[in-house]
Symmetry: C2
Subunit: 351 residues, 2 copies
C-alpha cells in the first residue's frame, strides 16, 4: 500500500496536532453531484451501484475531484448486513430504504445467521480494495456500517418510521427476542468492520442513526452495550497504523459521557450540540466530528462562511476536531456552496 500523503483526518481523530482542521462530508458521494446522477441514470438503482465495485469506486472518487476533502468514504449503505442476511434491501425514490422481508416473529429472528463478510459481502470488500488502490494514498478511506440497534429497527419496521412503534413494542414487550437479534447483528458487525479494515479501510464509522429515539436507559441496554462489544473486538492497529473508530449517534447529545466511554476514538455530533459544550464534557477523552446543520448549505456563501467560523470558534484551538455536517448532505445542495464550505474550513482553520 502506498504511503498516506494526507493523514490530517487520522491525526485529528487520534487527537494529535494537525496544521488545519480536516473536513469531509457525510454522503459526500451521492445525489447532490450531477456526475453521480448521470452515472446512476445510466447504471440503474442504488443497490446495483453499491454492488458493482468499479462503479462504487468511481462514485467514491467523484467528490474528491471537486472538493479538497480530507477523506474518502466507501460508497455503500448502512444496511448491507441485513440485506446479506436475506431481508431484501431496496430503495423507493423519496421513501428511503425498504426490506422485502421484514422480521415479524421470533422464528424470523431465530432463523437469521451471522454473516461471513468474505462470502456474503464480498462486493463491499472488493470495493474497499479498489478504492484504496485508486486513492493511492491521497487521503484515508473510511469504512462503515449501521449500528446493531439501527439495523434492528429497520429490520423490524421494514422501512424508516416516525416512531418505530413495532420495534419499541418488541423492546418493551419482548426484550429477549430483540436481544437475540442484536447479538447476531453485533457478531456480524465485528466480522464486517474487521473485514473492511483488512481490505483497506483506515477509519471506521458506526452510524447509530436511530439510537436517539430511545430513553437513556434503553439506549444503554439496546444500543450502546452492543456498540461497546463491537469496538472492543475491532482491529485497533493495521498496516502499522491506528484504525480510529468514529461513533455517530444522531440525537445522542444527552448521552455524550456514555458515548465517549464506548471505546470510540471520536464522536460525530449532530448540529443540536454546541461543540464548546461537548468538548467541555468529553473532549479530554475523544475527538469530535461535526457539526454544521446541512440546511446552512442551502443559504449563501456569506452565511456558510460565518457558520463555519462560528463552529471552528466554538471548538476552539488545539487538536481533536474533524469538520463535517451534523448529518448527511441533502440532494438539493448546489455543489458551489459545498466548495465554499470546504474552502472556508481550510482557510479559517489554518493552512
Amino acid at each position: 500500500m502506498s504511503e498516506l500523503k494526507n493523514d490530517c483526518l487520522i491525526k485529528s481523530l487520534m487527537k494529535e496536532p494537525t496544521t488545519r482542521t480536516p473536513v469531509w462530508i457525510m454522503r459526500q458521494a451521492g445525489r447532490h453531484l450531477p456526475e453521480y446522477r448521470d452515472l446512476r441514470s445510466q447504471a440503474g438503482d442504488f443497490m446495483s451501484l453499491c454492488q458493482n465495485p468499479k462503479l462504487a469506486c468511481e462514485i467514491a472518487m467523484q467528490p474528491l475531484r471537486r472538493y479538497k476533502l480530507d477523506a474518502a468514504i466507501l460508497f455503500s449503505d448502512i444496511l448491507t448486513i441485513p440485506d446479506a442476511m436475506g431481508l431484501g434491501l431496496h430503495f423507493v425514490e423519496g421513501e428511503g430504504p425498504k426490506f422485502r422481508k421484514p422480521l415479524r416473529t421470533e422464528r424470523d429472528v431465530e432463523s437469521l445467521s451471522v454473516i461471513n463478510s468474505k462470502v456474503d459481502l464480498s462486493y463491499v470488500l472488493e470495493a474497499v480494495s479498489l478504492m484504496r488502490k485508486e486513492l493511492d494514498g491521497a487521503v484515508p478511506l473510511i469504512g462503515f456500517s449501521g449500528s446493531p440497534w439501527t439495523l434492528a429497527a429497520y429490520m423490524i419496521e421494514g422501512h424508516s418510521s416516525r416512531d418505530f412503534s413495532r420495534t419499541k413494542t418488541w423492546l418493551y414487550k419482548h426484550p429477549e427476542i430483540l436481544h437475540q437479534l442484536l447479538q447476531k447483528l453485533t457478531l456480524s458487525l465485528i466480522d464486517y468492520l474487521n473485514a473492511q479494515i483488512c481490505s483497506g479501510a483506515q477509519v471506521v464509522q458506526i452510524f447509530d442513526t436511530w439510537g436517539g429515539i430511545l430513553s437513556h436507559e434503553a439506549y444503554e441496554k439496546f444500543s450502546l452495550a452492543y456498540i461497546r462489544e463491537i469496538i472492543a473486538n475491532l482491529i485497533s492497529r493495521y498496516d502499522d497504523r491506528e484504525v480510529p473508530v468514529v461513533l455517530f449517534t444522531k440525537s445522542g447529545g444527552n448521552w455524550l459521557e456514555e458515548i465517549a466511554s464506548s471505546g470510540c476514538n471520536a464522536i460525530s455530533l449532530d448540529w443540536t450540540v454546541s461543540l464548546r459544550e461537548a468538548r467541555r464534557r468529553v473532549g479530554a477523552n475523544v475527538a469530535l466530528q461535526g457539526n454544521m446543520d446541512p440546511a446552512v448549505l442551502r443559504s449563501n456563501p456569506e452565511s456558510i462562511e460565518s457558520e463555519v467560523q462560528r463552529i471552528l470558534d466554538s471548538y476552539g484551538s488545539g487538536s481533536g476536531h474533524v469538520f463535517n455536517l451534523g448529518h448527511g448532505i441533502t440532494p438539493d445542495i448546489d455543489p458551489r456552496n459545498v466548495e465554499v464550505f470546504v474552502e472556508a474550513v481550510h482557510r479559517y482553520s489554518g493552512a
Copy 2:
C-alpha cells in the same frame, strides 16, 4: 370560582411538597378513547370539535371520568393562532395539521396581523370558561399554545416535515423576515395565553415541538428568546394563585440550562433525558415534568409498572416532579394500560 380540591399539580410545578407525584398525560383527551372516537364520528372533523365549546368541554372531561388524573387540559390545538391569522388550519387523517395558505413571501409575513384573542379566538376562551365551570375545582385546568418558532415552522412549510427545509432556508438566508414573523407571533401568544388565564386556565404550557431541530445557537435566537419574552409578559398570579408556566421543548435535552433560565416554572422533558441527570443540572431552579416513552403503554402491565417505578426512582425523593409521558399518547393505546399507568404513579409515589 370554586376552591381547588386537588392542587397537587400546581404545588409540584411550584416545587412545593405534595403527598404524592401528580400525573397527567399529553393528549389525554383524544383518539385513544373510544368515547372520543364516537363523539367525533358524530360531530365531524377535529377543528369543528375544537371550535364548539360545549363539545370541547365534554371531550376534556372524558379522560377524567376514566382515570384518576391530577389535571385537565384544554381540548384544542397548538396551531389556533395561525388559524386565527387566516392561514386555514385543517387536518388530513394520518398526515397531521395542514395550512391552506402557507407563508411563501415576505409580503405574506408583512400582511399578518397580531391577533386579538377575545375577538379572533373567542371559541377557545369560551371553552376554557366552560371547562372551569364543569371541573368545579376537582383538578386544575391547563391552557396552552405552540411556541412562536413551532408556529412559524408550520406556517412556512404548510404542514409537518422531516427537516423543515423551507423554514431553515428562511432562517439562514432571510433571518430578518423570520424575526418579523416571530415577533408578531410572540405578541399574539402573550395576548392569547393571558386571555386563557383570565378565562380560567390555572397553568399554561408552551409546546416548542420543533425547537429541537435547531442548532444550539439558532435555538437561542429563533426560539428561546421569544419564549422568554412571552413568559416575562404573562400574568403570574391570578385569582390569588400563582399561574405556573411549563415549557416543553421536544428534543431540547442539550439545552436544559438555557431552558431553565427562560423564566418557566417547569420543564417538560421527552424520554431521551434521564430525570436524575436533568434534576442534577436544573432541578434547583425548576420543576420537571415527564418523561415515560409513550411506547411503553403499548406493552403490558408489568413493563408499565416497572418503567413507572424506574422513572420515579430516577427523579428521587422531594418535591418538583409531575409525572407525564415524554410526548403525546398515541391513538393505538389500550385505555386499560393507561389506567395501570396512572394508578402505578399514584401507588408508587406515595398516597
